[in-house]
């Protein structure tokens, strides 16, 4: 039977909302599921992980500096825990942090990482997207010494709440942590709006918005719909909105119930981020725009007239 280690990534004392999805992927693999919390003081985060259905145990590794999640400091701790605990699988959420530290773990264990698992066929066979999701590759990973993988969050539902909380155990790991890398700062965008990756509705704007001032009509529609806000790369590169709002192959991969692409042409790199959206609505003045090939509802016209009207009537 598999023994699965899920890395309990967190920030600001909160377990990343993706971990509930990683646990569900772990359930599909099948086996004993342990969540490891690496933090300065992991008690609060551990309690959140212990409340997830399917988790057998939560391990807490407290160490000053762990909250910063510097890859070269976290990876050796995960490697040590994987080896001492005899884990068959190490899973992390496919967030920027998971993508940062997990390949280091894989290399140290001498295995290939399976990036962005989107479906589990067995304990060793998985689907992953390649070419911006334009092809799906099924891979078979050698079981030994361990399978190291990131989970594509848009492909999995969150596990529910456990009937009873799993036990929490404080442990220490035997790892050498290099001093060569230092966390300096994080400039996080604070927003009252729903988080892009977990929002049920998302409104995204593209290059057509023309300026950050004009982008306010996107925010305003989003607020009316209680939606998160996203953007195309062109809108981010042009400085209308910050980088963390980019949706696509090299931005965030999202799976909302409802997605609005407004003034976005529908380049394959953008579509890579919204393939799992349940319903796509496109507003574009060009009837030939590629976005209309994937939209469930398309509306041709000038967004500066249509978006305020939509906000008023929605």
């Amino acid at each position: 039977m598999s023994k699965i280690l899920v890395i309990g990534q967190h920030a600001d004392g909160k377990l990343n909302s993706g971990i509930a999805k990683v646990v569900n992927a772990a359930k599909a693999i099948g086996g004993d599921i342990h969540v490891a919390v690496f933090a300065n003081d992991g008690a609060a985060v551990a309690a959140q992980a212990a409340a997830l259905d399917g988790v057998a145990k939560v391990l807490v590794v407290d160490r000053a500096g762990n909250d910063d999640y510097v890859a070269s400091a976290i990876a050796p701790q995960i490697v040590a825990l994987t080896q001492s605990g005899g884990y068959s699988h190490v899973l992390a959420a496919g967030t920027t942090s998971g993508k940062d530290f997990l390949p280091r773990v894989a290399a140290k264990l001498g295995v290939q990482q399976v990036s962005d698992i989107m479906a589990v066929h067995s304990a060793t066979s998985f689907d992953r997207p390649i070419y911006a999701g334009n092809a799906i590759l099924t891979v078979e990973a050698p079981a030994a010494p361990a399978i190291v993988a990131t989970i594509r969050l848009a492909s999995f539902q969150a596990t529910g709440a456990a009937a009873a909380a799993a036990p929490i155990e404080k442990i220490s790991v035997d790892a050498v942590i290099p001093g060569h890398t230092r966390f300096v700062s994080l400039a996080a965008q604070k927003s009252e709006r729903p988080e892009l990756q977990s929002a049920t509705r998302v409104v995204s704007g593209g290059r057509a918005l023309g300026s950050s001032e004009n982008f306010s009509i996107i925010y305003s529609l989003a607020d009316k719909l209680k939606a998160g806000v996203g953007a195309s790369r062109a809108a981010v590169d042009s400085g209308y909105v910050p980088n963390d709002m980019q949706v696509g192959q090299t931005g965030k991969i999202i799976a909302p119930e409802l997605y609005f692409a407004i003034g976005i042409s529908g380049a394959i790199q953008h579509l890579a981020g919204i393939k799992d959206a349940r319903t796509i609505v496109a507003i574009n003045k060009d009837p030939e725009a590629p976005i209309f090939e994937v939209a469930d509802y398309g509306l041709v016209g000038d967004l500066f007239a249509l978006v305020p009207e939509l906000e008023a009537k929605a």
């Binding site: 070269s72 334009n134 980088n243």
Partner: protein
Amino acid sequence: MKALVSVKRVIDYNVRIQVKPDGSGVVVDGVKHSVNPFDEIAMEEAVRLKEKGKVTEIIAVTVGGQKCEETLRTALAFGADRAVHVKVDEEIQPLTAAMALAAVFKKEGAELFFLGKQAIDDDAAQTGQMVAALLDLPQATFASKVDIDGGKAVVTREVDAGLETLEFDLPGIITTDLRLNEPRYLKLPDIMKAKKKPIETVSLADLGVTAIAGLKSVKTANPPKRSKGVMVKTVDELVTALKAKGLI
């Protein structure tokens, strides 16, 4: 200070990918290939550091078959001084590529290594981190700003929450994000000059690397197709449809 830059040959980002009917992969023959866009950004960053006098020599490296020589020529046209071609004819996976790249980094005594944050074909986004792990060196992935000064690198990284800044002691590994810079347009004289620059060819065995088997590809399939929806004529029609489905 020597800087190493890896460049990978990939199917051009504008090409519509076609999955082979027998599921053995995607069609690559006769399809336009280019340098991975993230690697062009990596090259550009190294060249800018050289122009500022912080880097003295730029070495481009690739791991792959004969055709990757074109990729190296592009890197040389960008401004690499010379190139190393790790020649492998069989398919290799990121860990093997990383082992080869790490060996070249060590052999060259380089202090900075720029790689793309991901290759747009396999989208694995792991090679740079693996190189860093194998060499026990610092890494700063998804870089959107790099400052090199006094034996240190200060790197701004694009992360889910916003922008993170890390500082590390050289030597170290940096993987590039899209907004780090805008690669220059290559001029004909540079392309001509690149033809005369040296490319050294080495094998995995020369580097003391044995390929790791790793993952087995079982099959490649098309993603589920989204069917084309309906065009609505007015906002009212759209609102009615979305309300009927309980979406708003």
